[in-house]
């Protein structure tokens, strides 16, 4: 198939940036979206133009590095699919495809489609862990975990930290990401001692990093490639209220 690509080009963080149009022929439906961009970049390189910079690594939907807004939707049109797992069979011959970076105050553009997501690491640093220094652990079977809790915790823990939730949110909020970690750790018995401080510290870090507030629009969960449910934000709110009460 042949495609008309309109891609965001921005030389560096200081550049203003703009959409640039490219025509691409002979795209196979079996290609992944990123393989299609590889083909474009091969051509740009041979033509002496600057290839399009984009983030990617594992290309199997788990590292969370790929990050494109495709026709206005983070990770594109397929439900629960990262950009790297999106295949060209979902597009049609002659289609125009807009490709843009994540856009959010907390994720400044580095170049073209590459953004800086270190604000997420800051949120984890504030409390997204269980303090268990190496060597200090009791036997793994010392504390059974009800299967239902373990399964729910696992579901929340599958968050890949890609940031699609932030890119989709009209407020640029990182609440789904934060809530996924709060939910995961809050459901584990090992996570109880730090439960109250964790939620307060992580939310403060979230706000300081420049993310917006949550107004329950639900855009985040609809684009989440791992299907992290909106209930995790309810759990976060509950934990937050409980922590504030405990503190007062």
């Amino acid at each position: 198939m042949s495609l008309k690509l309109r891609i965001w080009r921005q030389a560096d963080a200081a550049d203003k940036g703009s959409m640039v149009t490219y025509q691409l022929q002979n795209v196979s439906p079996d290609m992944s979206f990123l393989e299609m961009l590889d083909v474009l970049n091969e051509r740009l390189t041979l033509d002496g133009e600057d290839p399009v910079a984009f983030d990617h690594d594992c290309r199997e939907g788990i590292c969370g590095m790929c990050s494109l807004v495709i026709n206005g939707i983070p990770h594109g049109p397929e439900k629960a699919t990262t950009t790297c797992q999106l295949h060209m069979r979902h597009f049609s011959d002659g289609q125009t495809i807009d490709i843009e970076p994540w856009r959010a105050a907390a994720f400044p553009v580095v170049k073209d489609l590459v953004v800086d997501r270190r604000a997420f690491d800051k949120i984890i640093q504030a409390g997204g862990y269980i303090s268990a220094p190496t060597g200090s652990a009791p036997d793994a079977h010392a504390t059974p975990v009800p299967k239902a809790d373990a399964d729910l915790a696992f579901e929340a823990a599958t968050c890949i930290g890609c940031g699609a939730c932030v890119a989709a949110c009209p407020n640029g909020s990182g609440m789904l990401f934060t809530a996924a970690k709060i939910t995961h750790l809050g459901l584990m018995p090992q996570g109880q001692p730090e439960r109250n401080t964790r939620v307060i510290d992580m939310i403060n870090a979230h706000d300081e990093a420049g993310f917006g507030g949550c107004t329950n629009t639900g855009e985040c969960t609809s684009v989440c490639p791992k299907g992290i449910p909106l209930e995790t934000i309810s759990r976060l709110n509950k934990d937050y209220r409980q922590a504030l009460r405990a503190a007062s």
């Binding site: 560096d12 079996d30 290609m31 990123l34 393989e35 299609m36 590889d38 091969e42 390189t45 002496g48 133009e49 290839p51 910079a53 983030d55 690594d57 594992c58 290309r59 199997e60 788990i62 590292c63 590095m65 797992q85 295949h87 069979r89 580095v110 170049k111 590459v114 997501r117 270190r118 690491d121 984890i124 640093q125 504030a126 997204g128 862990y129 269980i130 303090s131 268990a132 220094p133 190496t134 060597g135 200090s136 652990a137 009791p138 036997d139 793994a140 079977h141 059974p144 975990v145 009800p146 299967k147 373990a150 915790a153 696992f154 823990a157 599958t158 750790l185 584990m188 090992q190 996570g191």
Partner: protein, 646 residues
């Protein structure tokens, strides 16, 4: 050409750090024998850790907890993205929670046997001992392992073992373990013991007065080259499977950190030991940029088959039971679909070579879940493998609940790596190597669910104990950019970048890398021959020359330039590829993942030659003429035998 045209023989090398005596207490005795660093002195010592996967992430976090000043580096935008994250199946541990006859000794035995008697007994035994602590540690961190209804941990069985000792978190065990290590690392970053340098790539090792004292790194965003100093350097930079271009590795995985250390004197051990994973999604076309693994755990319930007749192109549903060949169950009745990876991969290649392969190009075999769905029900199969089935459908557009998966082997893991002693120290004092980047524990073939075990054993428990013995002699004299050795390392990096940018040829780096990959897959893949390897070496040398004349690297060194990053990595892959082929050529035996067509039993199984090759091949850099140093392997506990899974 004779063998001596390819390499020369140097002095033997030996591991002097593992104590003698009963294997059960060697690790304990080594820890007691190792010097300690008092807490006040730890604050004055700096350690650089390159890579943030299971090994590097856990090591940096643990060293930080101990009180060292740690600097951590990764090429990704966050340490959480290291490729350990993609490991699916699980992690082995000799917990014997199942009461099914498992023990530390059995895990040790299985791993030495699985490695086809080409690993060190001391190291493997320590790994088996530490395995149980890893599970405890990860549970304490909140890793959400799969559990049973009583709330206790679930386990499953895996290739190469007859006990159920693999702990898992659905098909995302690597992700969950890595996030555990990442969170521990972020906790130390917040505590100020670790400073993180993401989007940085190590391009050279700095050696001063014979000790590893730092690295030269490039900031991938600004392009700035800087020199970083320390009292010790830890490489946790992963494996080199991407030399094949197509592999299950992440696109950025590379050998550069290891190779730069090798060029500076660190021996590179067993480079030809490559693991070809039997269950990957087949190639779909020339645009293919990487291969995707389907976890080996699928072989617990999936049955592997091809049609009995050559060229049978009916859809699988139309092929009756008695016209199917469940060849693994037929050839290996004792282990069936759970034979180790090297055996399963070669068996798939053999049936495809016979013309019985399925799918486009005949390069695939079926992995069929119909029997499991019939026995357990669709829901149970979905609970175990749901995410893997979804991933398969997303990539191929086929539904594995209703039609068998098509799978084919792909390069997955490299057992070879920088040579290390029992302390995980390389032949350069102060340079430690952990995880997939070293060579130590898996011999010629790694068992499933053992990579996660080794990465975390090295990072959480081994290195933090052994590095103190070296650091006790520090802090070492302060360094600055004026030092001649430092300035030279920096210049090497700057010159190389300039050289890559100035070629300005007419071929893209990827197109040349693909060609290198084809040579490696053809001649240094699942089956290797003397003639093929000689041909490969000469083709690699020609292609390398072409790379330096025709590669086109656009842009400049100032700022983000992904083409430049790739070019530097491919340049190092060329040199590694040559060494891999020379190693494979010199090892005139078959063992584990290294199958030499000249050395097989009448039944077509790998035939080792213990008389001549029971050693680790540790290579010293020598350009076109590397120097071979042999480390003899001795087996006091597990007697070498022909591996049999029949």
């Amino acid at each position: 050409m004779t063998m001596t045209d390819y390499y020369t023989l140097g002095d033997p090398v030996a591991d002097t750090k593992a104590p003698d005596g009963p294997i059960e207490t060697r690790w304990e005795r080594r820890r007691f024998g190792a010097k300690l660093v008092n807490p006040a002195n730890k604050r004055k010592l700096t350690v650089l850790v390159v890579g943030t996967g299971l090994a590097g992430g856990s090591a940096a976090a643990t060293l930080g907890e101990l009180g060292y000043q740690v600097k951590s580096y990764c090429y990704q935008d966050s340490p959480r993205r290291a490729h350990s994250i993609a490991a699916q199946g699980g992690i082995n541990a000799a917990k014997n929670y199942r009461n099914d006859g498992d023990s530390v000794h059995r895990l040790f035995y299985d791993t030495v046997k699985g490695g086809d008697f080409r690993s060190r007994e001391s190291n493997v035994h320590r790994l088996a001992q530490i395995s149980t602590q890893i599970i405890d540690q990860c549970v304490a961190q909140g890793v959400p392992f799969a559990r049973e209804y009583g709330g206790l941990l679930d386990t499953r069985s895996f290739g190469g073992a007859q006990v159920s000792r693999t702990f898992y978190a659905r098909g995302q065990t690597g992700q969950q373990l890595l996030l555990g290590a990442y969170q521990a690392l972020e906790r130390q970053i917040a505590a100020g013991t670790v400073t993180m340098h993401d989007r940085h790539e190590m391009l050279e090792l700095i050696i001063v007065d014979g000790r590893a004292r730092g690295i030269v790194v490039r900031d991938l965003v600004t392009g700035e080259i800087s020199t970083e100093f320390a009292d010790a350097v830890v490489l946790a930079s992963g494996g080199y499977g991407n030399v094949f271009f197509l592999s299950t590795n992440a696109k950025g995985c590379n050998v550069t950190a290891s190779w730069r250390a090798h060029r500076k004197g660190a021996l590179f051990a067993n480079p030809c030991y490559t693991q070809i994973h039997p269950t990957c999604i087949p190639v779909s076309g020339d645009h293919q940029s990487k291969l995707t693994l389907m976890s080996e755990s699928l072989r617990n319930d999936g049955r592997v088959w091809v049609p009995k007749a050559k060229g049978d192109d009916r859809v699988p549903a139309d092929i009756p039971e008695d016209e199917r060949d469940y060849y693994l169950e037929r050839i290996y009745p004792a282990f069936g679909n759970l034979v180790p990876r090297d055996i399963a991969s070669r068996a798939a290649k053999n049936v495809c070579d016979e013309g019985r392969g399925v799918g486009p190009g005949g390069l695939g075999v079926y992995l069929d879940f119909a029997a499991a769905i019939g026995r357990l029900g669709r829901d149970a199969v979905e609970a175990k493998y749901g995410n893997l089935f979804e991933m398969y459908e997303r990539i191929t557009g086929e539904d594995p609940y209703s039609t068998p998966m098509r799978i084919y082997p792909a390069v997955h893991y490299t057992m070879g790596g920088l040579w290390v002693d029992y302390d995980l120290q390389s032949t350069i004092p102060g340079l430690f190597v952990i995880g997939e980047a070293n060579f130590s524990d898996h011999g010629a073939n790694r068992l499933g669910a053992s990579a996660l075990m080794q990465g975390l054993a090295d990072g959480y428990f081994v290195l933090p104990n052994t590095i103190g013995d070296y650091l006790a002699a520090g802090p070492f004299p302060k360094l600055d950019g004026e030092n001649a050795e430092v300035a030279e390392a920096r210049k090497l990096v700057e010159d190389r970048i300039e050289k890559l940018l100035s070629i300005n040829g007419d071929r893209t780096v990827d197109s040349i890398h693909r060609e290198l990959g084809r040579i490696m897959w053809e001649y240094c893949g699942m089956e290797r021959t003397d003639a093929g390897l000689r041909k490969a070496i000469s083709e690699i040398r020609e292609l390398k020359a072409e790379f330096w004349q025709r590669a086109k690297v656009p842009g400049d060194g100032e700022g983000l330039n992904q083409s430049l990053e790739r070019a530097g990595r491919v340049a190092d892959f060329f040199e590694l590829a040559e060494l891999m082929c020379i190693d494979a050529l010199h090892r005139e035996e078959s063992c584990g993942g290294h199958f030499r067509a000249e050395s097989q039993t009448e039944e077509g199984e790998a035939e080792r030659d213990d008389e001549r090759f029971s050693y680790v091949a540790a290579w010293e850099f020598g350009g076109d003429l590397p120097v071979l140093h042999k480390e003899e392997l001795t087996f006091d506990y597990v007697h070498p035998s022909q591996r049999s899974y029949k």
